[in-house]
Amino acid sequence: MKSIVTGLAAAAALTLASVAPVAAQQNSRIIVVSHGQANDPFWSVVKNGVSAAGQDMKVQVDYRAPETFDMVAMGQLIDAAVNQKPAGLIVSIPDASALGPSIQKAVAAGIPVISMNSGSDVSKKLGALLHVGQDEVVAGRIAGAKLKEMGGKVGLCVNQEVGNVSLDLRCKGFTEGFGGKVTVLPVSNDPADIRAKVKAAVASDASVDTILALGAGTAGEPSVAAVKEAGKTGAIRVATFDMSAGFLKSVAAGEAVFAIDQQQYLQGYLPVVFLANYAKFGLMPGGDVASGPNLITKEKAAQVVDLSAKGIR
């Protein structure tokens, strides 16, 4: 009987001990409001990064997103976060005019804000401390330089979303880094159409030796197929922005040279780490952080396939 009592007392003491730090953590709670739903494969990786950082830094993290891509609802979620006075707020900014007032309110409330993924151009203006994401021009430039180094002279930039400014920036960076002649090939987002147009483009200009697609699943995979059909696998180097299972397989098989990973896991992980250190010690990096690009070549492809199954890439 006595042992039971002691046991209970010990259990109670343990519970108290484990509860106390949790109570202390309440003050260092960090809220993430993004525009990406948790069931979207890309954003579930971001969310995994957020949770992992919460555990590593021993802070409470909450990930919030509207059920659909809804800027009005997202603004309301930011307002709700501000009311809870968190130690830090992490937001993605796909539409600065819709979200700006809510973000400025957070800054006015004295909450440190970090932006991630989208909104690098408006981040500073709205009062965010820094931005964690991939600069599209820089990523394009790095990819271009790598393709040049591989021996590329004449390039094609396959754009499946003409009019999307961030995709235009990718082609611009590619042209700068590549140095050689680059033609932008506008296509629809229909794989059959892309395959036909890429095939026609490489047939009409035999000097094309490099293709950069602006999306892996949309433009990348059909481009690889087109090159294969034209019998030029190996002679034409194909690379793409972003990753898809099919394209990574092509990279592993040597049919494509690399995929550009923006490492969105870090877009969730790093801001939490920064804000936790900011809350504890007032530390903050001095400028925006580039989460990518990381070029996934043949050697890395197997590991990436492995990690993407675990929701890290």
């Binding site: 059920e67 800027m71 009005v72 309301q76 009311n83 539409d95 006015a108 004295g110 009019g163």
Partner: protein
């Protein structure tokens, strides 16, 4: 058809000769009268949901800023839900209202940015276009005798698609139209549709430390967002129309039994067409409010709002079969929806569970509402 005693029909003066009363004219006590209101269940559901969050959520949810935060989505949804409730009482559905928000938002944005129109003509033209589309919906339903569910479902897709096509055409390829807020200009009309009301009062309250302030001295709540004022005003107006005017009786009659209504001289087709026009115009009002507030519009605005509006109306006591319901009920229904959707972010539940909770809470609110109503009206 569900046989319900409509509590709102006693417009005739109270009977004075007690001897000739049959059971329809029996006087009931004040308490029973209150209990028989269709919106009672919604109010009870709201209290239930509020108790749930009061015990699980961060206390900041029920501060002034927190309540404004809940009421903002409730207001946008509520304006749609009240119109949807009137239409449902009139015996029809409109599934195109969510897409209508996106489409009229685009029309409004195009008038402002592309045509450079002033705010007043742009708003007027947007409302007229919405009403014409709503009238088209109504006429199609009446002339073809197809269920409105099917006809407006077609418009759900057509208008959503047109929003995308139109946006790409208007912006040269983007799915987002920006800069509407900057070009709309300032003035009285702008203040009616965006920003906050009662800013002076709130500044005074903050200056006297009656409400919370940010460290820099500005109040945490600078005023009541105008959408909330529209929401409350529309709820009152709709309630007055339903309960105190001939048009209100026509709506109940048209939804309850169209044939009987027609035989007693109610212009059922005109009533229904007008209700479709009203619903579309309400969607346009929401579009104008959100576009001016956000300063931009995109192809996904109003997505799935048609279902949320119908859910809010049903929580508010509307029957899917028509002829029964209330505008005030839809008002409470929208607040329940806003409280659940925003309230969950004040709790510690993992957001992956969000939709499960949302669905469960709404189901609970409707079941509770139904239970209360059956209990007090003895309805089966």
């Amino acid at each position: 058809m569900v046989n319900t005693t409509q509590p709102t029909a006693d417009l005739s003066p109270a009977p004075t000769v007690k001897k000739i009363q049959d059971e329809r004219l029996r006087e009931v006590s004040f308490v029973t009268k209150i209990m028989r209101r269709p919106e009672l269940g919604a109010l009870a559901g709201l209290i239930l949901v509020a108790i749930f969050f009061a015990s699980t959520a961060d206390p900041s949810m029920f501060t002034l800023a927190g309540i404004m935060n809940i009421l903002s989505p409730a207001a946008q949804l509520g304006i749609l839900a009240i119109a949807a409730a009137l239409l449902m009482i009139g015996g029809e559905f409109d599934l195109s209202i969510g897409s209508m928000v996106a489409f009229t938002g685009l029309i409004f944005g195009a008038f402002i940015t592309l045509s450079g129109w002033a705010l007043l003509p742009a708003i007027a033209a947007t409302l007229v276009i919405a009403a014409v589309l709503g009238g088209l919906n109504g006429q199609l339903v009446i002339r073809t005798r197809l269920p409105s569910f099917i006809v407006t479902l077609a418009f759900l897709f057509i208008l959503r698609g047109l929003s995308l096509v139109g946006l790409k055409w208007a912006t040269g390829g983007s799915t987002q139209m920006r800069g509407i807020g900057d070009q709309a200009g300032e003035g009285l009309i702008r203040e009616l549709f965006s920003g906050n009301a009662l800013e002076g009062a709130f500044a005074w309250l903050a200056a006297n430390d009656l409400i919370g302030k940010f460290p820099n001295g500005t109040p945490t709540v600078t005023g009541v967002p105008v959408s909330i004022v529209w929401f409350a005003g529309f709820a009152l107006l709709a309630t007055w129309i339903l309960l105190r005017t001939r048009a209100g009786n026509w709506i109940f009659a048209a939804g309850g039994d169209p044939n009987a209504a027609r035989n007693s001289g109610v212009p059922v087709d005109r009533v229904k067409t007008a209700l479709f026009m009203l619903t579309a115009a309400a969607a346009a009002v929401v579009a104008i409010l959100t576009v001016l507030d956000a300063g931009s519009t995109d192809a996904r605005r109003g997505f799935q709002k048609e279902f949320e509006a119908i859910i809010a109306a049903v929580i508010g006591g509307c029957l899917l079969t028509g002829g029964y319901g209330s505008a005030i009920g839809a008002f409470f229904g929208a607040i329940i929806f806003g409280m659940v959707s925003i309230g969950l972010t004040y709790t510690r539940f993992d957001s992956d569970w969000f939709q499960v909770f949302l669905g469960a809470m709404l189901l609970l609110a409707v079941l509770f509402n139904n239970f209360i109503r059956r209990k007090v009206t003895g309805e089966r």
